[in-house]
């Protein structure tokens, strides 16, 4: 009934029906174009992970690295250690690095009376690098980490800031900020969804390392 009334209203508007249809098709085309443009724009805008350089390139060939404990600003249980383990794993897999043992770093932290959640000073970073014989020091913090479970769906979110320091001076070279949600990897239906915080953290680390490789920050990275 309502449809009929609308049709009647269109008929009374004076425009021929075929013109209406052309207009409708044209509108749909425009809308589609708009959606494509928006998606395209979004893709162009998405420059994650965000890299901030504090020292000019080139950074030299570096193959030994120490990863400092990650501090955590979130309430997620053991967030720093969780991300640390995943980061170490991905870093070792990523290339022919000589990665310092976690135990050696924690031992130096104890000797220097440094708490794992405290950001070391440039001089402390220099001491750590010199003692461990590494050229680069990586440190960072977990800005946010959460995992919401709603029925069968899991919504993990991770936001981190990972920095590279020059071991010879203790100065900050680059800082990388990255934020991801499991939903962002959905391809169709449930396909592609990332359903765990560890899985999402792994992808976040891979994306950071890929960016570093592109920027020539970590020449020892072989294949990601």
């Amino acid at each position: 009934m309502i449809f009929k009334r609308v049709t009647a209203a269109v008929a009374f508007s004076g425009l021929p029906r075929f013109l209406k249809r052309v207009g409708l098709v044209f509108s749909l085309l425009l809308m589609g174009q708009g959606i494509v443009a928006c998606v395209g724009l979004d893709l162009v805008k998405d420059k994650r992970p965000y890299l901030q350089e504090f020292s000019p390139a080139p950074y030299g060939v570096v193959c030994s690295v120490a990863v400092l404990p990650f501090s955590s600003k979130t309430g997620y249980n053991q967030a720093g250690r969780l991300f640390y383990r995943i980061f170490m794993g991905q870093l070792v897999q990523a290339g022919s690095w000589q990665v310092t043992l976690e135990g050696d770093i924690r031992k130096i932290y104890r000797q220097m009376h440094l708490a794992p959640w405290v950001k070391p000073t440039p001089e402390q970073i220099k001491i750590i690098a010199s003692r461990l014989g590494v050229e680069r020091v990586i440190g960072g913090e977990i800005l946010s980490m959460e995992e919401k479970v709603r029925g069968k769906a899991v919504e993990p979110k991770v936001e981190v800031r990972v920095c590279i320091y020059d071991g010879s001076t203790g100065k900050l070279l680059v800082a990388t900020i990255h934020r991801r949600e499991g939903e962002e990897y959905r391809k169709m239906l449930h396909f592609g969804l990332v359903n765990s915080i560890t899985g999402l953290s792994k992808i976040v680390v891979q994306e950071i390392l890929t960016l570093w490789e592109k920027k020539g920050l970590v020449p020892c990275l072989d294949v990601l």
Binding site: Q78, R85, M88, V92, S130
Partner: protein, 468 residues
């Protein structure tokens, strides 16, 4: 090594996964140490943490138990409730050169595995636990290169440099503990570069470490210390140890006492705020505040670490009693990290007396002249006088902020109202307040007023109430 379980908090242990991992590795043809042997080793070497080992213990594990590789594992995530999830990571260390040669991580959630028609999908946590472990082990290489000859390890096990800040000429101590067997102890030469100087560290057999002690230079500044170890296989590599700061400059401190001022002096009635102001941005190690009387006798003192933003003195002694009115000196001493001392004094006057009000009533030509005066020189903030009839009706009122003040009350009004009451309230600029009540104002008239015209009449205390 036992698998650490982060989901159980700090130092959590997952025994079931450890057993499953050992079984899986043995099935893969690897020789794996028993769980008891590993735990015995951890107890012997006081290893209280899971998930990692330092180089010293890695070498010990190789020497004591003949281990070629160490596999560390951790459960990063464990959710038993649906949808169940598990996250694992593992690291493999070759003991010969103490190098991490492989690391991997694996994770699985029940909703990750979705098959057509829901066939063979994992339903429980046990299903995904086994699958995640299998995936992790599948990612691990089947064979690893074993190194037979032990490579050179890091030289320095521990270094301490103290103090971090000191005065010119103070003693600096650096202690160096090296890796390696006792056979090479003492055969190595340990040199320290301090600015342009070279200091040799002496081996101390009692503590099995090298020690160097030297005097700090006379000039202020930061001095870096670099370590060089040579001999007995050491290649003379320079290692940055740290730096120390020589500081012979006294901190620049100023003291501000906040409170009402009278005759260029801060007055304490209730409390005063003492605000230390550091004129140069220097870290203060500790402070001490002292209160002295006018004879220089210390009445009370307080101290603390750092430098507070402000201190408050309520005019009390350490036992809680109020100090008597008078002049006092507040002294604040501060020491920087090199123990350079600075002391700054400030004067304060304790004044707690209430306004001293005097009243005189005279009969002049059948009228009453009421004369109000203030007994001390502290200015008043305000005063108010009310004359009330016996029924409580206000007959006359006066207010102001200065005394003396006189006003006239006609004799007729007084006679008609019976006894007149006077209520007098005054407050000085420091907050000292007084309320005095006189029940019979006319009774205060001297019997022979003509003889006392020129004299000051002090109001009697009868009926007066001090409530300050």
């Amino acid at each position: 090594m036992p698998i650490e379980d982060l989901s159980q908090g700090v130092n959590g242990y997952n025994q079931s996964l450890t057993v499953s991992l050992i079984t899986a590795l043995r099935q893969g043809g690897h020789t794996v140490l028993s769980e008891d042997a590993v735990i015995d080793f951890m107890v012997r070497n006081r290893i209280r943490w899971l998930g990692y080992l330092d180089s010293t213990n890695v070498v010990k594990l190789r020497e004591e138990l003949g281990v070629d590789f160490i596999l560390f594992g951790s459960v990063n995530q464990l959710r038993q409730k649906a949808p169940s999830a598990i996250g694992l990571s593992a690291m493999l260390i070759r003991t010969a050169d103490v190098r991490m040669i492989w690391a991997g991580s694996g994770e699985l959630c029940t909703v990750d595995v979705q098959h057509l028609l829901g066939l063979a999908e994992p339903q429980t946590f046990a299903d995904i636990e086994a699958m995640a472990l299998q995936r992790l082990l599948a990612a691990m290489p089947k064979s690893f290169t074993t190194i037979t000859s032990e490579q050179v390890q890091r030289l320095v096990d521990n270094v301490s440099l103290a103090p971090a800040v000191l005065r010119p000429g103070g003693l600096v101590t650096c202690r160096v503990k090296l890796f390696g067997s006792p056979a090479v102890f003492g055969k190595r030469k340990v040199m320290l570069s301090v600015g342009t100087r070279e200091v040799e560290a002496v081996f101390r057999e009692d503590a099995e470490l090298y020690e160097a002690v030297w005097r700090a230079p006379d000039n202020d500044g930061r001095y870096s210390v670099t370590l060089n170890v040579s001999g007995a296989g050491a290649d003379g590599e320079n290692i940055f140890v740290g730096s120390y700061l020589v500081d012979g400059t006294v901190p620049q401190l100023s003291l501000q006492v906040l409170g009402p001022k009278f005759k260029d002096r801060v007055v304490l009635r209730d409390k005063v705020y003492i605000v230390p102001i550091l004129l140069d941005s220097e870290l203060i190690s500790h402070w001490k505040m002292t209160i002295l009387d006018k004879d220089g006798v210390v009445l009370m003192a307080d101290h603390g670490n750092g430098m507070p933003e402000r201190l408050v003195w309520h005019g009390k002694l350490a036992d809680g009693h109020f100090v008597p009115d008078g002049d006092y000196t507040i002294e604040l001493s501060a020491w920087d990290r090199a123990e350079n001392e600075v002391t700054v004094p400030a004067q304060v006057q304790v004044f707690r007396r209430a306004p001293e009000l005097e009243i005189a009533v005279e009969l002049q030509d059948k009228d009453f002249v009421i004369d109000l005066r203030h007994g001390n020189d502290v200015p008043l903030s305000y005063w108010r006088a009310e004359i009330l009839s016996q029924d409580g009706v206000v007959i006359r009122e006066a207010t102001g902020d200065r005394l003396p003040y006189s006003f006239i009350l006609s004799s007729t009004s007084g006679q008609n109202q019976g006894k007149l009451r006077l209520v007098l309230v005054a407050q000085d600029i420091f907050g000292g307040k007084i309320t005095r009540k006189f029940e019979d104002l006319l009774g205060m008239i001297p019997q022979d007023s003509s003889d006392q015209v020129e004299e000051e009449v002090i109001a009697p205390e009868v009926g007066g109430i001090d409530d300050f």
